[in-house]
Structure formats: structure tokens, C-alpha cells
Symmetry: C2
Subunit: 592 residues, 2 copies
Amino acid sequence: MKRFLPILDWGRDYSRATLGNDLVAALVVTIMLIPQGMAYAMLAGLPPQAGLYGAMLPLLIYALFGTSRTLAVGPVAVVALMTAAAAGQIAAVGDAEFHLAALALAALSGGMLLVLGLLRLGFLANFLSHPVISGFITAAGILIAGSQLRHLLGAPIEGKTLVELIPSLIANLGNVHMVTLILSALVLGFLFWSRKGLAPVLHRLGLSARAAGLVAKGALFAAVAVSTVVVWGLGLDAAGVRTVGDIPRGLPGLSVPAFDLDLLTLMLVPAAMIAIVGYVESVSIAQTLAAKRREKIDPDRELVALGAANLGAAISNAMPVTGGLSRSIVNFDAGARTPAAGAFTAAGIALALVFLTPLFFYLPRATLAAIIIVAVASLLDFRALPRTWAYSRADGAAMGATIAVTLTIGVEQGLLAGVLLSLLLHLWRTSRPHVAVVGQVPGTEHFRNVKRHEVVTAPEVVSIRIDESLYFPNARFLEDCVNDQAADLPGLRHVVLMFTAVNEVDASALESLEAINARLKEAGVKLHLSEVKGPVMDRLSRSDFLDDLTGEVFLTQFDALDRLAPGLTRDTLAQPRRETSRSRLAPASAAE
Amino acid sequence: MKRFLPILDWGRDYSRATLGNDLVAALVVTIMLIPQGMAYAMLAGLPPQAGLYGAMLPLLIYALFGTSRTLAVGPVAVVALMTAAAAGQIAAVGDAEFHLAALALAALSGGMLLVLGLLRLGFLANFLSHPVISGFITAAGILIAGSQLRHLLGAPIEGKTLVELIPSLIANLGNVHMVTLILSALVLGFLFWSRKGLAPVLHRLGLSARAAGLVAKGALFAAVAVSTVVVWGLGLDAAGVRTVGDIPRGLPGLSVPAFDLDLLTLMLVPAAMIAIVGYVESVSIAQTLAAKRREKIDPDRELVALGAANLGAAISNAMPVTGGLSRSIVNFDAGARTPAAGAFTAAGIALALVFLTPLFFYLPRATLAAIIIVAVASLLDFRALPRTWAYSRADGAAMGATIAVTLTIGVEQGLLAGVLLSLLLHLWRTSRPHVAVVGQVPGTEHFRNVKRHEVVTAPEVVSIRIDESLYFPNARFLEDCVNDQAADLPGLRHVVLMFTAVNEVDASALESLEAINARLKEAGVKLHLSEVKGPVMDRLSRSDFLDDLTGEVFLTQFDALDRLAPGLTRDTLAQPRRETSRSRLAPASAAE
């Protein structure tokens, strides 16, 4: 029971002090979440209340099932963009079918996460590599910013990718609504300044450093309040500034939406992507925050919690949700101690829905767009691509492909391209593993690459270290490689395969090993293995290979050479050891 | 020039003795290929001449470009089945569109192989693992045998999978044509007996053992001749025995077929599968035969040769071709020395097309079906599945899935399921790598798993050996694992990650290592690496990681402990060595 309801754990020790901390955090997060929720709903192409609903029931559910004490769940920018892209494939923004598609995405991705969590298949999320997710987030951030141009400029700029957005922007330069533009510039300027500049000002005005930091988080709310009052007072809506308008007052009703099978089928792939991106983002945030307080999160139970939260979003007329970075950091900094802070946040949103919605009638959409821009600005990391490329061409290529395809073709295609390319490059690399002929380092029992180190070898023995697990993509390579290394060596009598780096021998590689053994046998050469790991040895002993093996299996490479070339190894061991190659400053020679 | 035309190599030393050998082999293969070509055309749903055309131009082209001296190229059973399945998706057997689809498959798969060869991308074929291809061949053999039931029983039994074939067989039990059934039984009985029984009889009749073996290969031709004469003499065609009928006399005209874009698009995926299956089969046969005579084949040039051969098939109104197992073995056994034997075979087929086609009018289709059954019987390997499962559950599961899906859903789906499942299982396995805490084996500088060996450790140092490359699927696992191993150890001051089995550290894993380093630093524990391979060290030195590393990088694990726990390692080294764990008979303790 406790396994799936962490609330039974932290709820028992809940104290008045914890309550105070959680309430302060909830207040700060609520003030931030009200405008963000409406903004992300707008980004997803949904009515503003969908974002507020997404900040209620899902938060209550996560508070019950979540293992992170500080993760703030709710609508987030990247998932909102993915929702808009997927729902936009089957309906136009504003249609009832469009919102139904968004709810289907929440229901499907929630169901998938829940099932993966119950089956403990959280490892599947690992296939989204760091470079791919980081490239995707940056590209999505650019597209999100581009999608808000229409609200910032008050002109009908449309497009799902840069290929569509840029021509549309150019074509609409003449249609920019100047009053909206001025309003956008003021709000954007204030919000960007407030990120660094507001807290010091408040501190100078007499607030404590901590209080100033917390109150500064209310900059979003201040922007909302002031711009709403300005629009109302000056009658800017009549001058063409678009506002949020009517929001239904009160709490969302609960009902299972009437999905048809066609809709669910069409939303299956996008829902899987939303599920994985949302989960990976959420878990990384949760892990980072948990590590700071030496807490632990459980990835499989996070799947269950996020899955249930999304199912809650689906039945409360909301939108797909996940853990958000900026809100979680605010929650953490504001002192949240338990998931109860999330439940209090949900209560705050409920109060806003009951009492405040009429006040948002004159809230300009440009303000919400500015809030989105400020939020995604922190997601962009343009230096990641050159840094990753410098470290690894394969990772850089996967990241570059993700960014390029996302920006030009679409978010789903970009993510898919990145995942497939990173898998393919991995397979390509392991299909041609690094192989080294090794010799004994004088003065030690250690064996290293003959090309990188001054080592001692025996003419009648070739020792080959294979730096990869042996499995189907490299099974044929293995045969060719041993053939090449062992061919044309006069006086050769023994081949030793050093298995230090071999973590698996699958059925394909086993056939290759059998073929190598048979061919060497015909040539009068014995095949030996050394340093075979336990799991690999257990596996090999289930086949006939060890019985057919012409040579032996040695515990260590030193044992092998000691037996096959007696005397030589002991002489080498007695030689003085050279210390030169141990320096950390000369990596290429420090290790091979 | 020579790189792409091996004929310039072997052609120069061509002698009269070689010519004699090649001619004998060509004669034997031609006699076998005439009925087989017609039979495989029938299996593919094509007119009989398509199979004979497939045994002409493609063979001439392979003789120019191929690097195997004994591979016999032409129509083969498995590729014929795949052709029938793919072309059957868009047209009915007998339509002009059906044959056009088969030619499109030859052209597309030929083009793909050619491009892969020119780009030296032959490694892609490695992703078809041994268990998947072996399972696929067995399942395809069963489907092929099932598809011939209609010819063997003279009843309209139809179906592409067992799910369709079995009900159709039951429904048609009352429609079996008795004369056809008796004919089939006689031919099948003779052919199965002749595989083992004919050569000894001929030997007893006075032929030399070798000559008897060669003449016995003519059993196919004898079955064809006798059954044709019987049908003609007894007028069995009038009694309802179906025969081959008219075959156009003369050589095929050369022309580029008029493919439309829709057809090519539809045939793209099946063509890719035919290309890969054909290539993998062909290369394995070629490698096996080459090894027997210590010759070498070049996988990338084989791609070019098979690709060109298939393009030749497409422009000569034939069908997709590849290297065939049984014919290649016959070619090898009959003494073929060079690819010229293939060219002579093509000449023999040309003579048959010009002079013999009228003789095949009364050849019963049941005889061709029996020839197919005998050929695929040797492909079936029912013991492979339990053997593979016993060795490795993952390989067994991939093989089982391939067989089950191929038999019940279809050949393309079966192949795809096998490839995807084997990739997924590989990724799943590497995402949870084996990890061992290691200690020093007394009397040696060697370090082994504390759980499998009696080893010595120091309380202030934890040494962790990670038995896998560090990359995105296991990057998060790595963090958890070091956290778990290093948590709650009082007095811990050093963590050493032993990198013997780490062949790669990608960008995702680098971030994890940085996180581990930072977390251990906060806890006052230093992180060290040992036995880092050259390529990995080169890579790490391109990042900031080595600068931020709190500890050192040691050449050997022994050095690491020697420095971090001085004295202990030398004492352990001085202890007497225990030899018990070296036995090959106790694998679990022999190696860890």
C-alpha cells in the first residue's frame, strides 16, 4: 500500500512547521501559476480555463502518488506546444474536436505512463538521450517563441515550423498592431528586468532578502494586474488589443470525454511522445531537486503518479500536464517540504476559478505571450550544440538533427529523428569495435595496447583485447578481425582473446566464436580466453563451446601468458616499472 | 579498376584445367537449375520463363563483379516467397501488374544493394542477427511448403500464412485430385530417396564414387523427364493433371520496365527486406565456401555484385535473385574453380531456352512443387529454437517471435518483428548493466568481484567495476548505482570506477559522471577512475570532466589501491596465491 501511496509516509510526520512552509510555497506558486496556466492553454490552442483546470485535479493526484516532495506539476510550455501540434493535425483551434483531441492526448499519455509504471518499464525513457532531449527543448523553445509573435505583434502570423513562420512574419510586417506592440514591449521589458532586478529593489525598500526574492516571483502577477487595469482603463480593447475575454466561473465538472476510436488511433503516437518527453523532463527536475536535499525519488512510481495526474487532467476538461522546471524551482526555493504544497496550490487555483475569473476579462493576450517568452527563454541553450559536437560527433549529430528537423519539419518528426539517429549511430559504432593487440607492461602483471605502450610480447602468442560486447552487429566483424590479426604470423601457436570488456556473448557471436575456433584449429593454432566475466562464463557454459575450445580459459591475461610463454612474463615482471605513462596530463599515453 | 572487377584478377591465370573443372560444374548446375528456376518462378507466382531468365543475365553479371568463386546466383526459394507476398499485395497472380511488381522488387533491391556497396555500408546487414535470420528461414520454409500443397494435391488451397492455409486445406480435403496426388507422392518419394540413396546405387552400377555423386545430382532432371513423359504418354493432362504449358521460346529481350512512382513507393519496404535477406544469406554461403578453400570474399563488393545482378534481372524480365545454398554447394562439390562456371551455366540455360522449352509443355506442376518441397526441407531447423533459447532467453525470444509472426501474420512483419525485438532486448540489457564491487585477489595484482571471489578490500575505498559502455540508455542507472553503492558507508573516502569494460562514454553518460563527481564532492568523497582505455581517455580529455574530477585517473586498479590504501595492496600481493578458482570446470567461480 505504502509503495504506491507515499502520502502515507510523509503524511504521518506532518507538523505545523511543515504546514507553514508548504503554505508559503503554495501561495507563491499559485500566484505564478494563474497567469502561466492561462498562457500555456493559449499556447496549446485551448481556452484559458483549460490551463487553470490543469493546475487543479492533476496537482491533487500527484500529491497522493508522487515521490518528489517539491516537483510542481501542471501545464508546461513544451508539452503545450506538442499538444497544439498533435491536435492541430485533426482540427482547427477553437473547434470542440480540437479540445477533445487535447483531452485524448492527456488520457492516452496518462494511460501509457500508468501502464509503464505498473510494469516497471521506466527504463524505456532512457532511450531519449541527453543531447536529443536538450536539442529538442531548445528547438521547441524557438518554435514556442515564434508561435507567440501573433499575440505580441497583434498580427495574424501563423505557422508550425520556421519554414512557415518566417515567411508569415515577413508578409505580416505591415499588419503589426502598434498599440499591442508597445504593450508587449513594456511587459516583456518589465518581466526580463524583474528576473534579476526586482529582488534587489525590494530588498532596498526594506524587505528581507528572502522575502524580496519571494515577492519578486509575483512579477508575473504584477504584469497581469497592471496590464489588465491599463487595458480596461484606457479602453485599449476597443482600440484592437485582444484580451482573454470570458472565462467560465467555477470548478470544472468531472466527466469521461466521449472519444471515438479514430481519434484515439490518430493521437497514439503523439501521446507516446508527449508521455516520454513529459516524463523525462519531469524526472530530471525531480532528481536534481531531490539530490539537493538528499531525498530520493522512485522513477517507476513517478510514472504512476504522472500517469494518474494526466488521467485526472483528461476527466476534468484540462490539458496534458507534467512537472515544470521554473515552477518547481520556485516551489523548492519558497520552502515547500512535502507534496501537500501542491494540494494547497490546487486549492488556490480553485479559489481563483471561483472568485477571480471576471477580473481576467481585460487581461491582454500580449501579456500572456510575454509570460511564455520569458519562461522559454530560460530553456534555450545555444552553446550545447557546439559543446556536444566537440565532445562527440555522434552525439552532436543526433542533437543537430533533432534541432534541424524539429525547426523545419515538426516536433514529432524532430524527436523521432533524434531517437532513431542516436540508436543507429550507437549500433554503427558497436558494429566496428576498437580492438587492440596487447602486451605486458614491464614491472607489472598488466597488459596494454602494443601501439600505445612499451610492452613485451611473445612471438608464438597473439593476445587480442576486444573492446566491446560481442553481439549480432559485430559478430561478423569479430571473425574478420581475428582472421586478420592471426593470418600470416609465422610461428604462431596461440591466440588469446582477452575478454575484459566483453559483457555479453549472444547467440550470433557464439557462432562466430565457434567458427574462429574451428578455423584456427585447422591451422594448428589454439584459441584461449582470458579474464572472462562471471555472467559471460555462466552463459558460455550453457553451450558446447567450452567443450570444443582447443585452448583454455584463464582467470587473468597474466596467467595466460605465464602458461603459454613460460619465463617471459616473470622476466618482464622483474623489470623496473616505468612511471611515465601514469600522468593525467598526457591522456593519450596515460591509458589505452 | 581491379577493385570492382575481380574477373581481371582470376581471368589472367585462367588455364585449360580450370576450364575443364568449371565446365563440369556448370553442366551439373545447369541440369539442376532448369527445373529449379521454373519451380521458383511458380512459387513467386510468375510464369516459368521468369525463373529461367533469372538464371541467365544475373549469372553473367555476377561472374564479372562477384568475389566468391563458387557462389551460384539465381532464383531461390525464400526470396521467391517474399516476392510473391509483396507483389500479391497489389495485384493477382497472372496479372501483368504482378510481374511488373516483381521486376520493381528486383530493380529496387538491386539499386539498394548497389548503393550500399558503393557507400561501403555492408555493416547494416549485421543487424539481422543469426537467430532472427535462422528463425525466418525456417518459418519461410514452412510457408513455402504450405504454398505448394495446391500443386501437390491438385486442389485450390490458398493462403499466405498458416492462419489462412490450414482452414483452406481442411475445406479442400474433399477436392483432392487423386491422380495428381499419386504423381506427387511418387516424385516426392523418389527425390527424397535420391538425396541419399541414388549415388550408392550408381556406384554399384560401375560409376566411380565421384561420378556417381555428380550424376545423382541429376535426379531432379530425371524426375522432370520421367514425369513429363508419363503425363504425355498417359494423357494425364486431359485427366486434370495441371502442366507447365507453353513457354516462349528464345532469349529474353532487354528493356527497362515502365514502373510508375506509386508502384515503386509501395515496393520500397519489401524490396529493402528482400535485399537484406538475400544479401545476408548469400554472403554467409559465400563465406562458408570461401573458408573451405582459404579464399576471401569482400562483403562490400558482394553488395555491388548482387545489386548489379538484380538490376540485370529487372531489365531481362526475370525475378529477384541471390546466392542459393544448395546450388552453391553442388557447384563447389562439382569442382567449380572460378565465377566462369556461372557464366557457362548461363550459357547452358540459354541453350535450354532456345531448344528445350517445347519439351516442358507436359511437365506437371506437381513435379515442380515436389522439387520445391525437397529444396526447402533442408532449410528447416526445428532444433535451433530450443537450442538458442537454452543459450540466451533474449535470442530465443527474438527467434520465437520471428517464427510466430512470420507464420501467422506475414513474412515482412515477421522479419521486422525479429529485428526490432532483438534491438530492443539488446538496449534493455545494456540499460541495466552488470556492476561489481571488486577487491584484490591475494597473491596477484588482479581485482575481482567480492561476491564471487575471496578478495581483499580497504574500508575507506569502494572500487566499482561497470561491465558496460556508458551511454544514454544506462546513464541514469549509473548515477543510481554509484549512489546506492556509496551511500551509508561510514569512513568512505574514495570511490574508484574501474573502466576495464567501458568502451565508450557518450555525452549523456558524461553528464552523469559530472553529477556523480559533484555529489560525492559534497559528501567529502573523492572520485577516481582506473584502467581507462585510450579512446575513452582521448574523448574525456575533450571535456572539462578531468579538470573537475576530485580524484585521479590511474593506469591500473592496483595502482589506484596502492595509492589510496598504502601498504594493504603489497601485503595482499605477498600472500600465497590460491589456485582453486582457475578451474574450467567451475565456471561460476572460475571467472567473475
